[in-house]
C-alpha cells in the first residue's frame, strides 16, 4: 500500500464523505473512521481509514511491532495473527472487518512476568531460526496448530504451517521446535 500514511489527504476527504443520511446500511470512509480492536486482551480505540490492514493498524498505530510486514500479499506468513482462534494473514485483513473479534499477536504470547510461551522457548532451544524475520509468524502459526491439536502429528504440524515461509530454510529446526513445544505444552 504505497499511500497508506497520507494523512493530509485523509483529513481532507473525511468531512466530505461521512455517511450520507440515506436508507440502508451506513457508508463509512474513505477518511478516518473509529475502529475498535481487541488485541491481546486489550481494547484499542483507533481512527483509521477503511483501507488500513490489521497488520498496519497494529504495527503503526498500536506500536505492537512483533508481527512483521514482509510480502504484504498473503504469501509469506510473517504477519500471521490469531483471530477468534484461527490464523489469518493480518496483511490481507482489513482492520475495520475484525472489530469485536479476539485478536492475538506474537507480542501477547509471553506471560505477564515476561516468561516466554512454550512455543517461543522451544524455538530458542532448538535454534529454530536464522535471520528471525519469519519467526513471529511461525511462532503464532505453531501456537494455533498446537491449540487445535495438542498431540499434533508431524503431518498436522506440517499442514498447519503450510502458510508460512522461511527464506533461510530453517524448516527442519522449526519442525523440531513445534514437536518439542507439543510435549512441553502438554507438560
Amino acid at each position: 500500500m504505497k499511500s497508506a500514511g497520507v494523512t493530509s489527504l485523509a483529513t481532507a476527504v473525511t468531512t466530505a464523505t461521512v455517511a450520507q443520511a440515506q436508507t440502508g446500511p451506513r457508508l463509512v470512509g474513505p477518511g478516518d473512521v473509529p475502529v475498535t480492536l481487541m488485541v491481546n486482551g486489550k481494547r484499542l480505540e483507533l481512527k483509521i481509514e477503511p483501507r488500513v490492514t490489521l497488520l498496519d493498524a497494529i504495527r503503526n498505530r498500536a506500536d505492537l511491532t512483533g508481527n512483521k510486514r514482509v510480502c504484504d500479499r498473503g504469501t509469506c506468513g510473517a504477519c500471521t495473527m490469531i483471530v477468534d482462534g484461527r490464523t489469518v494473514y493480518s496483511c490481507s485483513t482489513l482492520a475495520i472487518e475484525v472489530q469485536g473479534k479476539q485478536i492475538r499477536t506474537v507480542d501477547g504470547l509471553a506471560s505477564a512476568n515476561g516468561a516466554m510461551h512454550p512455543v517461543q522457548q522451544a524455538f530458542c532451544d532448538t535454534d529454530g531460526l536464522m535471520c528471525g524475520f519469519c519467526t513471529p509468524g511461525f511462532v503464532v502459526a505453531t501456537v494455533a496448530v498446537l491449540e487445535k491439536h495438542p498431540n499434533a502429528t508431524r503431518d498436522q504440524i506440517s499442514k498447519g504451517l503450510d502458510g508460512n515461509i522461511c527464506r533461510c530454510g530453517t524448516f527442519v529446526r522449526i519442525m523440531e521446535a513445534a514437536m518439542k513445544a507439543r510435549t512441553v505444552a502438554r507438560g
Binding site: 500500500m1 504505497k2 499511500s3 497508506a4 489527504l9 485523509a10 476527504v13 464523505t17 440502508g24 446500511p25 451506513r26 457508508l27 463509512v28 470512509g29 474513505p30 477518511g31 473512521v33 481509514e49 477503511p50 483501507r51 490492514t53 504484504d72 500479499r73 498473503g74 504469501t75 506468513g77 500471521t80 484461527r86 490464523t87 489469518v88 494473514y89 490481507s92 485483513t93 482489513l94 475495520i96 472487518e97 502459526a141 494455533a144 499442514k159 498447519g160 503450510d162 502458510g163 508460512n164 515461509i165
Partner: protein, 328 residues
C-alpha cells in the same frame, strides 16, 4: 491502495443496493484475492461492500442436495461432515486451497469469483485485454502456466478456482441476486469463455450482481475422485487438476462428468473423456484411456505443452481415486 468507502450490509438486498454507485463498487468476501489486487493497483474500487455477513450456512435441500452460502469460509466447507460425505471431491479440493490462513479467511464465493492468476494480469504495467488493453501478453510471452484448451483467445488465462471444478462436476447451480431479482445459473453457463465483448470478466455476474449460494444436487449413486498436480506440495496453484463424478451401475460406469481445472479460461468439461467412459468398467486401463481422451483436443501454447501430460495424468488419477485405486 486507493482509499475507499466501506459498507457493511445486513441483508442480500442491502448488499445489492450498496453496489449501485457512480464510481466503482466491488464486493469483498475474505479479501484474500481482492486486497492483493488493490495493493497492486489492478483494481481501485471507490467502494467495498462486505458480503461476509451474508449467508454462511450449509444446509440440506429437500431433494437431498446441499445449499452452500457464498460467505462460508473454505475451512468450514472442508470441515463440514455432510459435505464430505455427499461431495468428497469438494472436500478434497477445499483442503488444497492456498494455505491454512487463506482457508480460514477465504470464502466459497470468493474462491469461485477470484480473478486470474496470470502474471501479466497481476502486473500493473501490463495492460492486457483483461485490463482494457488490446493484447494478451502470454501469446508471445511466458506462457508456461497458461491455457492448453480453449485457446481461441483473445485471453489465454486459466480459471483460478479450485472449488469451481468439483462444483461443476457435481452439477452445481449458482444463485445470483441482482437489482432485478434472483436467478439460478448452471455452472456450465456461469463461467464464460473470453470474447472481445466480455473479456474483462470470467463469469456472467453483472456489476450489481452478487453470488449468494452454490446449490449442489443430490449426488446419486456415484463415485467421485479429485486429483491436483502442483510444483510445490502446498501454497501453490495446481498446474492442472481434475474432478470426475462417475454414475455407477455395478462396476460399470453408466455416465461420467470429467472436469479439468487450470487448463482453460473456464473450468473445462471434457466431453471426449465423458463419452469414452460411458459403458466402461472402472479400472486402471479405463482411467488411462480416459486421460488420453481428455487431452486429445488440447492445443497448448509455445511454452506449456508439458501441461498436456499433466492434465492427462490428473484425469487418470482422479478416476483411479474414484475407483479406490492407489495412484502413487
Amino acid at each position: 491502495m486507493k482509499a475507499f468507502s466501506y459498507v457493511n450490509p445486513s441483508s442480500e438486498k442491502e448488499a445489492v443496493a450498496a453496489l449501485k454507485t457512480d464510481g466503482i463498487a466491488m464486493v469483498i468476501g475474505g479479501g484474500q484475492d481482492l486486497l492483493a489486487r488493490m495493493k497492486d493497483y489492478i483494481d481501485s474500487p471507490d467502494r467495498l461492500v462486505n458480503v461476509k455477513g451474508l449467508d454462511a450456512t450449509m444446509t440440506s435441500t429437500p431433494d437431498g442436495g446441499m445449499k452452500i452460502g457464498s460467505a462460508v469460509k473454505i475451512i468450514d466447507l472442508f470441515e463440514h461432515a455432510q459435505v464430505a460425505k455427499l461431495y468428497p471431491s469438494v472436500n478434497a479440493a477445499a483442503i488444497e486451497v492456498g494455505t491454512p490462513q487463506i482457508r480460514n479467511q477465504g470464502t466459497v464465493g470468493g474462491n469461485v469469483n477470484q480473478r486470474p492468476r496470470c502474471w501479466y494480469f497481476r502486473n500493473e504495467e501490463f495492460v492486457c485485454f483483461k485490463k482494457g488493453g488490446s493484447r494478451c501478453f502470454a501469446v508471445n510471452g511466458e506462457n508456461q502456466y497458461h491455457a492448453i484448451f480453449g485457446n481461441e483467445g483473445p485471453s489465454h488465462i486459466v480459471h483460478p478456482s479450485s472449488l469451481a471444478v468439483p462444483f461443476m462436476a457435481y452439477g452445481a447451480k449458482f444463485r445470483v441476486l441482482g437489482p432485478n431479482g434472483e436467478r439460478e445459473i448452471a455452472a456450465a453457463d456461469y463461467f464464460t469463455m473470453p470474447t472481445l465483448q466480455n473479456v474483462l470478466k470470467e463469469n456472467v455476474l453483472d456489476d450489481e450482481d452478487i453470488l449468494t449460494h452454490v446449490i449442489l444436487p443430490a449426488p446419486g449413486i456415484v463415485k467421485s475422485g479429485h486429483y491436483e498436480v502442483r510444483y510445490k506440495a502446498s501454497h501453490d496453484w495446481p498446474l492442472a487438476f481434475s474432478t470426475v463424478v462417475l454414475t455407477m451401475s455395478g462396476n460399470t460406469i453408466s455416465s461420467a462428468r470429467v472436469v479439468l481445472g487450470a487448463v482453460a479460461p473456464i473450468p473445462w468439461r471434457s466431453k471426449a473423456a465423458e463419452a469414452f467412459l460411458a459403458g466402461k468398467p472402472l479400472n486402471e486401463a479405463t482411467a488411462a484411456a480416459a486421460g488420453e481422451a481428455a487431452v486429445s483436443e488440447a492445443k497448448p501454447m509455445s511454452g506449456n505443452a508439458y501441461k498436456v501430460q499433466i492434465a492427462k495424468t490428473a484425469v487418470k488419477r482422479a478416476i483411479m481415486n474414484a475407483a479406490g485405486l492407489n495412484t502413487v
